[in-house]
């Protein structure tokens, strides 16, 4: 049934499951899940491939031989960082500044504390250091803000530092000197010395991995890259090796956190770019889907057991942030802007002083919600859904797992209903309403907080718990439409398969324009800007070409981060395509002013202060040719089942239709309140909402009662 054309595979390895998704030429997606095999992840990948081959009835080798592109999203880098299982790394810095990584600009001591916990000083801790002070060395040298050498590198001291660190068992080196992104000569020389002295050691130079102003974040990116590189390279080599031995001859791409996939070889050199590879998969999958469905503005929401990950697609592009946190450190490498909040199906509800509180504590996967019967005693959001009848205790995960509804009821009665003087279903409905409202607050914060109106966005909902809550938080937010992707349960794997090749290069450089009565663009040297971009473009395009993508399938986007002088918040402005000249600069500056007012209100900017250009970035996207998804092809809808569900908004029991997602034919519309079940998840469609199955298998839910089948 898959014919004999090329096959595309995407795999995502989660903590519990390894998800594999396959799209053959006809676009009929297939997905399988196998148990993740900790410590030996490649085995889990291979068994997923075998299971897929079995599902479609061909030999694994035949399947792999037909695979054109194998995309992989990996949490290997993240896990190695969190578990502090990287390589022993030595850091070499400018003399006088070796403590930069230890001081962390003081940001480290509040990492991971929620706003509620910030005042709890006895909980403050610095993260476990990646490079303890004993593995740091300072060398005499100094470069100034303009890149001028004030003190030549003391090569003897550098050699001594390298030798000492090597003797201390350091296997990877990080070199991060002040202002090296303005003048990398000293860093490069130290790099050469390391390669001469320890040819087998891994080396990262800050001027190469993250040539951006801000020594703490640049040092952190450099250190993390070296710390992670050997283990990530080893891991990627093993996975690729296993696949190649089994017949795979196609391209092996790794999903990065920046906006696409990159060849495995490149990924192994820059593991710091993989740090959000897991959640990025879902966002990038959403990006592809948004393009296909014609949506320009999307809020992506991934609600799992413990966390709610949110990001934005604005005007057809994912938002990239250049400041984020990983493993207790702060990085300035570009990364998809994903906000993770501790709220999910496993969030624990409790009564405190007569008030209902939910999370941030989570029951996680173990012991999990009370209804799992794995020892959980505290009621969770999932328990509330089971009590309300939204999640079926008999048909959870397609019936593979029986849920103990009685126990869930009992826990909610004991912990919530009785202390609050409510009946059990009112208490459960309360939990759902509170969670939905909190999530809506979060979505409002990330949209309005960036100057966007949430009503201009379509919500994509995925992750195990998302489909049960999306119409709740979507209505609360005032959104009009929600899309639950056909791939929602393997959305990260889909992202690894579907994403474009992405390469970006950036450079930190300060240019000023305007000031006083001058036009803002006056004083910006267009020739210099053009030269900077020529260099950045060249690197990006070469990398895309190396990955085997033709120039005609490659798109280049140039951006400049700009700000009004004396203001510290940059906006990223996209340059018009084509050669860079005076007109391009003027257009970009005009765009900046428009965007600034949109984000911060009329008159927020201080025009007279002039403008500063800070970071220049080229991003090349290479589009491998891949089939689009198409639907499963059910012809007619079966008759829905029915069960009593307690409507959390109307607060009464209502008999609701229960539909099976996979049995719905394309174009089928149904009106809420209703339940749509899927072997991996449950969708709740609220009263007044209308759901329609898209031909490619996605579910669209219109919250305003309009026509969800209509275009964007």
């Amino acid at each position: 049934m898959e014919g004999d054309g090329p096959i595309y595979l995407g795999v995502d390895i989660g903590g519990t499951f390894t998800d594999l998704i396959m799209i053959p030429r006809n676009g009929r997606m297939k997905a399988v899940k196998t148990l993740t095999t900790p410590g030996d992840l490649e085995t889990g990948v291979l068994s997923a491939v075998r299971l897929m081959a079995e599902t479609i009835g061909i030999a694994p080798r035949d399947l792999l031989q037909r695979v054109e592109i194998f995309g992989h999203g990996t949490t290997q880098a993240t896990n190695a960082l969190i578990e502090r299982k990287g390589t022993r790394t030595g850091l070499i810095t400018t003399r006088g500044f070796g403590d930069t990584i230890g001081l962390q600009r003081l940001l480290g001591l509040t990492v991971g504390l929620s706003a509620d916990q910030l005042g709890w000083y006895s909980k403050r801790r610095y993260p476990e250091p990646i490079v303890p002070r004993t593995f740091r060395r300072e060398v005499p040298e100094r470069v100034d803000h303009a890149g001028r050498v004030l003190l030549a590198l003391d090569e003897g001291a550098a050699r001594k530092a390298v030798a000492e660190l090597a003797a201390a068992g350091v296997k990877a080196f990080a070199v991060a000197l002040l202002w090296s992104f303005r003048n990398p000569a000293h860093e490069r020389r130290i790099g050469e010395i390391i390669r001469e002295t320890c040819p087998d050691a891994y080396v990262t130079l800050s001027s190469e991995i993250s040539p951006i102003i801000g020594e703490y974040e640049r040092t952190a990116a450099t250190v993390l890259n070296s710390y992670l590189a050997p283990s990530v390279a080893g891991y990627l080599g093993r996975v690729e090796g296993v696949l190649r031995e089994s017949g795979f001859r196609g391209k092996f791409y790794i999903l990065n956190s920046v906006g696409g996939v990159m060849p495995a070889r490149e990924a192994a050199r820059k593991p710091v770019l993989l740090l959000a590879s897991g959640p990025a998969g879902g966002v990038l999958g959403s990006l592809q889907l948004a393009k296909f469905l014609g949506y320009r503005n999307v809020i992506t929401t991934d609600m799992g057991g413990t966390s709610f990950d949110v990001s934005l697609i604005v005007d057809g592009k994912v938002l990239i942030s250049s400041s984020h946190e990983a493993g207790g450190y702060h990085l300035n490498t570009p990364m998809i802007d994903i906000r993770a909040v501790g709220a999910g199906g496993g969030s624990i509800a409790r009564v405190e002083n007569g008030l209902l509180r939910i999370g941030p504590e989570s029951a996680g996967a173990k012991p999990g919600p009370v209804c799992y019967g794995l020892g959980g005693l505290l009621p969770t959001v999932t328990d509330a859904n089971v009590v309300l009848g939204i999640i079926s205790s008999d048909n959870f995960l397609g019936g593979r797992m029986k849920l103990d509804r009685k126990a869930a009821e009992e826990a909610i009665r004991r912990e919530i209903a009785e202390p609050l003087g409510l009946c059990v279903e009112e208490a459960a409905a309360g939990i759902v309403r509170v969670v939905d409202a909190h999530m809506a607050d979060i979505l409002r914060g990330i949209t309005i907080g960036r100057g966007y109106d949430p009503r201009d966005f379509v919500i994509f909902a995925y992750g195990g718990a998302g489909p049960a809550h999306c119409t709740g938080f979507g209505s609360e937010l005032g959104a009009r439409r929600i899309v639950i992707p056909a791939t929602s349960m393997v959305h990260s794997a889909y992202g690894a398969l579907a994403s474009d090749i992405h390469e970006s290069r950036e450079r930190s450089l300060l240019m000023r324009g305007g000031g006083g009565r001058n036009e803002l663009w006056e004083g910006i040297d267009a020739v210099c800007v053009a030269e900077v971009f020529a260099e950045l473009d060249r690197h990006c395009l070469a990398a895309i070409e190396d990955a085997g993508i033709a120039a005609r399938d490659t798109m280049l986007v140039r951006t400049i981060d700009m700000r009004y002088r004396r203001q510290t918040h940059d906006l990223t402005v996209v340059l018009p395509p084509g050669p860079v000249g005076q007109d391009t600069i003027r257009a970009a500056v005009a765009q900046f002013e428009t965007d600034y007012e949109a984000a911060y209100g009329r008159g927020a900017g201080f025009r007279e202060a002039g403008i500063e250009l800070t970071i220049f970035r080229s991003q090349a996207t290479g589009r491998p040719r891949k089939p689009e998804l198409s639907g499963s092809g059910a012809k007619t809808a079966g008759r829905p089942g029915s069960r009593n569900v307690f409507d959390p908004i109307a607060r009464r029991w209502v008999p609701m239709s229960v539909w099976q997602w996979l049995d719905l034919p394309a174009g089928h519309r149904l009106a809420g309140p209703a339940i749509i079940e899927h072997p991996e998840t449950t969708v709740y469609v609220g009263a007044g909402h209308i759901a329609v199955l898209h031909p490619a298998g996605h579910l669209s839910i219109d919250l305003a009662g309009g026509d969800p089948a209509g275009g964007a």
Binding site: R95, G96, F97, D99, T100, G102, L103, R105, L106, L109, T110, A115, D116, L118, G119, W120, Y121, S122, R125, Y126, R133, T134, P140, R142, D144, H145, L150, L151, L178, I213, G214, E215, E217, V351, N353, G354, L355, L356, I358, L422, G430, R433, V434, H438, D441, R444, G445, I448, G449, L510, R565, R566, Q567, T568, H569, Y600, G601, A604, F606, A609
Partner: protein, 733 residues
């Protein structure tokens, strides 16, 4: 008194279902977060964007705090005073109208000091005044005799800065250009001030819009009921917290040197009376107000006491008016921390306020230290000092340049029962501290750093070590020179006192090295604090040198206080001391002198030599007396003063230290010690001395007290056990 201020009429807390309550409650919190984000985005000042020296909040119509942001805590306790002052001045005339915003920086009307400008806005709905939204941010300059409005030479408040006593900056939704122009003409940095004001106005507007949306959806009475309910919930929780603590009096004392004119010593005395569900902060005994700018007004006093109170007593309670209700402040008028008009106060936040915060932390830590369930919240003082450095002049491109460098936040954290202090901790009043990158500062202005790094032996020694502090050196670069201004304290007063026998963290210092050397040679010479401290020609500038010029070749350097230690240093695990030495936070010399830990050639503790050295130190504590008991094994809960089931204080070794309602110090062994016995960075003002109190039996260090030579030692813990209560059960383990 705080308790008596919240009195105007308000709707009753009405019955409201807990689900709606939680939904609305979360939205109020989200609004406050959005206020903070908005201000930060618009502002261009590093004080706001990097150091987060600002705060926002929502208030009831009478000024009661409903929510506050996680930024500088000083402000929020005080914005309510600002609002109440506006209500008093304008409300009586019926002059608080929809669309108005008021601006105020008068310390005698609610501001902590003049640079902390508040803009507050009444929130109306359907013609009724329901709430206030407020924003407050530290401004880089609000005029007056000195740059940055740190008027170290002032003798009265009129000289210090512009005084905005509560003006309608926005009237009926329109910005008053006349007022705006007047304000902008009085500052040296109108661009920064303008942006910050715009940011505060935008933040208030966001809050007003969001609140109105809430009123429309849920009805104003419901939202008000949630606001009041939140306050009541916090009050209930706080009162029940207070019930867990035995009654008694908990005292602390701290000092500040130099009032801007002369190096005089001032002291702040605090006695916290805890009885039942009430707390009284009594400032009796505090020095009379100073002739210089180091004083603070009532507002600063209140903000500072709260800053100590909230993280220690209410870390898990939402901070709002409810926490203030059981609290009363008694402070005579005309003292250092409740100055009488027109005393100068522009240095309040970094002077008197800081000292009040220190004594609040110390007294309350002594209090919770008596309660096993709360003693983990007790902390030695975190960087009990502040140093302000402003730089001004011309930038590389000839434009005016001025900045307030905030690197001095990177002092050491106070240690506590179960953990060392943070090495580089940020200031206690800032829940989420941050300092700027060196590269960011060098890009912004014509300066060059020579180093910014930890300084060894700055953390107070203790069973748990106080956090190490940092130091930095910089010089003017690319320009002829810069005008610097330095005001600080804690260079001759060890403010970061230890707890439970821990030693104070090292003192701060301000150094200047005049030279005509080239930058490259200075880079070679001065690459850490030690290289400057050992330089024979370096000048020690003292606490408040005020303004001076740094020219080409001149190097300015400063070091901040380390954190106080917790527990007797001789009880620290020698392995941990060895690790501190390996990591460079403690030198081997001071490992031996302070911790009694002798390391072998490989850096591992020599246990035999260590035992000998520790015994030697113990004997010296008893002044030649014999030890009558072996030091208790390093186990148990680690408190120096324990309470026996018969209501006595005792040492871990079992030695009796008297009834809990008597001064335990009368029973302890006491001697005066030289500062050099407590670490290389400890220095004392000529009027101060250090007194060591040890167990008369085992010589365990119980307290190291910083005290005026002519003063009696402080009776710091006095418990009033209720005969009928369970107090003893609560406080004995």
């Amino acid at each position: 008194m705080i308790a008596s201020q919240a009195s105007t009429s308000r709707p009753e807390e009405t019955a409201i279902d807990p689900i709606t309550f939680e939904v609305i409650r979360h939205k109020l919190q989200a609004i406050t977060e959005e206020q903070g984000l908005t201000l930060k985005r618009v502002s261009g000042s590093p004080v706001v964007t990097e150091a987060t020296d600002f705060n926002n909040g929502l208030y009831l119509a009478d000024g009661s705090i409903v929510t506050m942001g996680p930024q500088v805590i000083f402000h929020t306790g005080t914005m309510t005073t600002v609002i109440r002052s506006i209500i008093k001045d304008f409300g009586s005339r019926g002059d608080i109208q929809e669309g108005d915003m008021f601006i105020l920086n008068d310390p005698y009307r609610g501001a902590v000091h003049q640079p902390d400008v508040s803009i507050v806005a009444p929130v109306f709905y359907q013609g009724r005044h329901i709430a206030w939204a407020g924003s407050c941010a530290h401004q880089l300059d609000v005029g007056g005799m000195s740059f940055g409005s740190w008027a170290y030479a002032a003798t009265d408040v009129q000289q210090e800065a512009m005084l905005l006593t509560g003006l309608k900056l926005i009237e009926g939704g329109r910005l008053r250009q006349d007022i705006w122009q007047m304000i902008m003409s009085m500052t040296r940095l109108p661009n920064y001030l303008g942006l910050d004001f715009k940011g505060m106005i935008a933040a208030n507007n966001v809050a007003i819009q969001r609140l109105i949306t809430l009123f429309q959806r849920y009805g104003a009475p419901t939202v008000e009921a949630v606001m009041i309910g939140e306050i009541n919930a916090s009050e209930r929780r706080f009162r029940s917290r207070l019930r867990e603590i035995p009654d008694g009096i908990f005292r602390a004392r701290d000092y500040i040197e130099h009032d801007g004119h002369a190096n005089r010593l001032y002291e702040v005395c605090l006695a916290v009376h805890k009885a039942g569900e009430e707390l009284v902060f009594d400032l009796e005994g505090t020095s009379a107000q100073a002739p210089g700018f180091i004083n603070c007004t009532w507002s600063g006093l209140k903000g500072a006491l709260l800053t100590g109170l909230l993280p220690i007593l209410a870390p898990d309670i939402r901070w709002n008016e409810g926490v203030l209700k059981p609290v009363t402040i008694n402070a005579p008028e005309g003292i250092l921390c409740n100055a009488k008009w027109p005393a100068p106060v522009s240095g309040a936040t970094v002077c008197a306020v800081w000292i009040v915060m220190n004594v609040s932390v110390s007294a309350l830590s002594r209090m919770v230290g008596c309660v096993p369930g709360l003693m983990h919240e007790a902390q030695a003082v975190t960087k009990g000092q502040m140093s302000v450095l402003t730089l001004g002049g011309r930038n590389r491109d000839g434009e005016a340049y001025g900045t307030l460098l905030l690197d001095s936040m990177a002092g050491g954290g106070g240690a506590s029962l179960d953990r060392d202090g943070l090495d580089g901790s940020g200031d206690y009043d800032v829940p989420r501290p941050a300092i700027a990158n060196v590269e960011a500062n060098e890009a912004l202005g014509p300066i060059l750093y020579l180093f910014r790094s930890f300084v060894p032996d700055t953390g107070g020694a203790g069973r748990r070590r106080g956090g190490a502090s940092t130091g930095l050196a910089l010089l003017p670069y690319d320009v002829d020179g810069l005008d610097a201004m330095v005001i600080g304290h804690g260079v001759e007063v060890p403010n970061s006192i230890g707890l439970s026998g821990g030693l104070p963290g090292g003192c701060a210092c301000h150094l200047l090295r005049r030279s005509s050397e080239a930058v490259s040679s200075l880079l070679q010479k001065y690459h850490d604090a030690g290289s400057l401290l050992e330089d024979a020609e370096v000048q020690d500038l003292g606490a408040k040198p005020g303004g001076f010029r740094i020219g080409p070749g001149d190097v300015f350097a400063y070091l901040f206080q380390g954190g106080g230690g917790y527990g007797d240093p001789l009880q620290r695990d020698p392995g941990l001391v060895a690790r501190d030495v390996a990591l460079g936070y403690v030198t081997s010399h001071w490992a031996a002198e302070l911790y009694g830990v002798i390391l072998d050639a490989a850096g591992a503790p020599d246990m035999t030599a260590t035992a000998v050295k520790r015994r030697e130190i113990r004997l010296s504590r008893l002044g030649g007396g014999e030890m009558k008991a072996a030091p208790s094994a390093n186990s148990g809960e680690g408190r120096a003063l324990r309470i026996s089931p018969d209501g006595h204080f005792c040492c871990a070794c079992g030695a009796d230290l008297g009834q809990v309602d008597r001064n335990w110090k009368d029973m302890a062994s006491c001697r005066t010690v030289e500062p050099i016995l407590c670490g290389p960075h400890l220095r004392l003002h000529e009027e101060l001395e250090l007194r060591e109190f040890s167990c008369p039996q085992c010589a365990a260090l119980l307290e190291l007290e910083v005290c005026r030579r002519d003063e009696q030692s402080l009776w710091n813990i006095e418990l009033h056990l209720r005969p009928e209560g369970d107090d003893l059960k609560i406080i004995t383990l």
